[in-house]
Symmetry: C2
Subunit: 583 residues, 2 copies
């Protein structure tokens, strides 16, 4: 018997998500997002876009690049050599494990990021055995997590399914930059699927082999601290709960996190704070959100600093819903070198400045007079003098002897040049959210049991529908009034779940289970006086409202007001009998 | 020198799309959608969703399934064996061609769908030679277009990147059905990436190796003609331009197309009409849209009938932007057989009916009296009588001799049963749009040259921004008024392109090139009387408007009104000098 509080069970039953290709026995780590879950996921993506791409008053653009990626790109980015997990295969039954996770489960040690030899030593020392057949395990190998394929008919044209969307933005950075305002900073976002051939996919939506990420590469000039500090200064500064790589736990404002150097660049701190605000918008609490710094060995190869953004779930404990990485100029620099293309950009400086430059100028006439046939050699020697080192006089050993040169022979000229542009390879901070993990965390925290029934108390901003509409009984007159209200509310921009099948109790139960905040019912009285009942998902309380008020009531509820606060007439029809979920 | 009317050039320059991984020389058939193109693409997807999923008053849901697909699924669907193109490789320089397309280009014949032997015969007979080295070509092979990969660490677990989103919906059909209202018809939609390892990708966005499709599988009961015919009857019946597989061209209403059997099932005709209406909404003209039936050899293996939806482009002639296929129960039936899972569904009938059934009932007592020790054999014989054949009397040859049985020994009873549900494997019609092709066709038809400059006359519903806002010159007072208007219009729900860099002429040119219908400029007079100039992209005419009217002006323009019709004060500032594009 399925437990009522099992998120996966609810998800399967009510169309949030389920394992893909189930009729063929399923495939580990592949999930479908069903018709109800996708509505929530689309809302999450919309909120993410509005918050990060439009809401921060930063220049942000969004692009879309292919999943199929030629090998050269992922060789340059380091993924072909470094995007690996350690694998151990049972020599007897050939079951395969992810070596570090197996050691963690068996020995309770943190083995993430250990080298092959260290892992092998742990296997040997602790006599770790196969769960399936009991054979002794060892001989850890490196397994690359890229899904490999070929482009076109030749097997030599190796390609991979992208493991992150980032490389598409890096390789096309110049195009994107040139079609934009050609200024830094510039955020380049992408929402798309990525695939990682996990050895042991597990934990439902938490470790999938294919999933959606919402991420952006934020390109900036690392020397321009002012832009970052001023953006940071303008932010509401909710403190960040940090767990540093050395295990220390600190709670700091983002500004303080930068000034104490716990966070390595101001834009990192800025986007950590932004990520926190985004999660608060989704109903998570500040004290639930923790930024966990990855250690040197755990961090991806491209990162100078990474914080995982962790939030608690009932079933899987702390879950990483986002990662914020300081990728520096690692990717652009490597692509520059490997492609032979200059990926630096020239940006106009906000404040042009005068740059003094010194150069040594020979007085050729005097040199020729003083040195005759040797003047060529002397002039050449003068041209190699270092203008920053040379004084008014200099002694040189030349082929024809030692000479002493003075102001008669050369001068150091100082020139001032107006510098109004600057060439650089931008640095990058990358905040990356996992859509399905965020969806899971939302469902997990929203699922409550009330009187033996499941209620999904989703924030109304991410509910799959704004309201449900039911005729109390399946009767033509109630049905047509309900349909009319449905289309009126749709016209007004609200999403409506219309349902007329089965008992009203079952329909309320279904509406509650998929998290619809408001249920509107048309009954006998509705036909007489145009009033309807309005039911609150969480309290199951009902009120009476004029049908003409519904749009305004929904507007208020969706902007965060509770139905209770609206001062409507309370309605006393006995709530439907408690029934088990699943009806 | 790039031609002004080159869509690809404009796309690259202005951020609509460009070849992916260009810094590594590019990969045939892979394109990025840039920051401007993606805004248009997202609008196309939104319009598609509103039109097909919400606007047709049909039960439609949307899901999301993985790209990585285990081989069993695509074996059952027939793709592993049938999703192929004929390939010919030059024996000398090893250049590879798609055999049928090469023959079409060289000989001007329609070679699509020909078998390997027919193709080889054409190569031999016509002495077809390699473009690159002149060697004689032949030896056509079959090349599978699926991108092949492996799931997990074992190479035996073959998987593919999906070539269509459909199989994810078929394999999970039961789950989707059960989490919905469990009624037919039911449309299951998906918008997502698919990949096809084309031998010769070409023609910009027209033949890509990875692209987005917007499609749905419309599941229906083929016996329930009434539902389809009544939906068809409710539609505005713009006539369809058909080119039949035999080459005949007809223009028929969808109803007529069904009644004449040119279209094989009413839901096909319904969605052909819907596809036409959708394209009319995007600004295409009825006479431009042509439905071209695929011949028996050209059609995909799963299809009983397919119409390609073709629209003209300046560069590539008629381009297929959608395909509408009658997939029957091919996919669900094959998955049922191959997975061993029953994929039929039981649906409640709208109108339950009484079904009469007859059965033969023996009068055992009389049989025992009349036949004694042989009564067992007689009773067994009676139980095998066919109730639909037997009369009041029957003669049987039994082991102990010939017997004659009458009403004393058996009776035929008629029973009536109320049939209120029905089990069936639904049939499927699949309308499938290619996002990037639609994007291309829109750009192609919208690009016009006006006085030596490019104007992209996109319908305002798919313009990347609703308006642009410019301070006439980069000055603090104009800038802050422009920024204030920008945020007011954003608040009101409009998308705004703010630009203050460079001359006003260059900014107008850029705004025109990316297709923004309205440009708003803040000038000296704005600071005095709060009026602004409003400029029409297509006519370059300008008017004076109060800044408080802007939201209302935009609302009217976006609902299809022209600025000219609004009766604003004409503005006479001389339009900026004609400049070449690209500034």
């Amino acid at each position: 018997m399925e437990r009522l509080d099992d998120v996966d069970g609810l998800a399967r039953r009510r169309g949030f998500y389920w394992p893909s290709f189930e009729i063929y026995g399923g495939v580990g780590g592949l999930y479908d997002v069903g018709q109800i879950g996708l509505r929530v996921k689309h809302k999450l993506e919309g909120i993410w876009r509005r918050f990060f791409l439009e809401g921060l008053s930063l220049p942000m653009v969004e692009v879309e690049t292919p999943l199929i990626t030629p090998s050269r790109v992922l060789e340059a980015s380091g993924h072909v050599s470094s995007f690996t997990d350690p694998l151990v295969e049972c020599p007897s039954c050939h079951r395969v494990y992810r070596a570090d996770q197996l050691l963690e489960a068996k020995l309770g040690v943190n083995a993430e990021g250990l080298g092959i030899e260290e892992l092998n030593a742990l296997f040997q020392k602790n006599d770790v055995r196969c769960d399936a057949c009991g054979a002794r395990l060892g001989g850890v190998k490196t397994f690359n997590l890229l899904f490999k394929t070929n482009l076109g008919p030749f097997t030599s044209d190796v390609a991979y399914v992208r493991p992150e969307t980032a490389q598409g933005m890096f390789t096309s950075f110049k195009r994107i930059f040139e079609a934009s305002r050609r200024q830094l900073p510039l955020g380049v976002a992408q929402v798309g699927r990525v695939a990682r051939n996990e050895i042991s996919p597990r934990q439902s939506l938490i470790r999938m082999r294919e999933f959606t990420i919402m991420e952006f590469e934020f390109f900036f000039d690392p020397a321009d601290l002012q832009a970052a500090m001023s953006a940071l200064g303008d932010m509401a500064a909710e403190s960040l709960n940090l767990t540093l790589a050395d295990g220390r736990e600190l709670t700091l404002t983002p500004m303080k996190a930068v000034s104490t150097s716990h966070v390595k660049t101001p834009w990192m701190a800025y986007f950590m704070e932004a990520a926190l605000q985004f999660l608060l918008n989704l109903g998570f609490k500040s004290e639930e959100v923790r930024f966990v710094e990855k250690g040197d060995k755990e961090r991806a190869h491209y990162s100078a600093q990474t914080f995982d953004v962790m939030i608690p779930t009932k079933r899987w404990g702390l879950v990483e819903v986002a990662g914020i990485s300081y990728r520096t100029d690692y990717d652009l620099r490597n692509h520059s070198i490997k492609s032979g293309q200059d990926l630096s950009v020239s940006v106009t400086l906000e404040k042009p400045f005068l740059q003094a430059s010194r150069r040594v100028v020979a007085h050729a006439d005097a040199v020729r007079v003083d040195f005759g046939e040797h003047s060529g050699e002397v002039l050449a020697a003068i041209s190699t003098l270092d203008p920053s080192q040379v004084g008014q006089e200099v002694e040189l050993n030349l082929s024809f002897g030692r000479v002493r040169l003075g102001p008669r022979h050369f001068a150091v000229q100082v020139e001032e040049r107006l510098v109004s542009a600057k060439k650089l390879i931008p640095h990058v901070v990358e905040p990356s959210f996992g859509s399905e993990r965020l969806l899971y965390a939302l469902l997990d925290r929203s699922l409550v049991i009330k009187e033996g029934r499941v209620v999904l108390a989703l924030p109304s901003s991410v509910a799959p529908y704004d309201c449900s509409i039911f005729p109390l009984v399946k009767r033509d007159d109630m049905g047509s009034m309900a349909k009319r209200l449905e289309s009126e509310l749709r016209e007004a921009g609200y999403s409506v779940f219309y349902d007329e099948d089965g008992s009203i109790g079952k329909r309320y139960a279904r509406s509650d289970e998929i998290g619809i905040p408001v249920a509107i019912t048309i009954d006998q009285r509705s036909l007489e006086d145009n009033s309807v009942t309005v039911r609150d998902r969480d309290s199951w309380k009902q009120w009476r409202a004029r049908s003409s008020e519904l749009a305004e009531i929904l507007r208020r509820v969706l902007s965060g007001k509770s139905l209770i606060s609206l001062g409507l007439e309370e309605f006393s029809r006995r709530p439907p009998k408690g029934k088990k979920a699943g009806g």
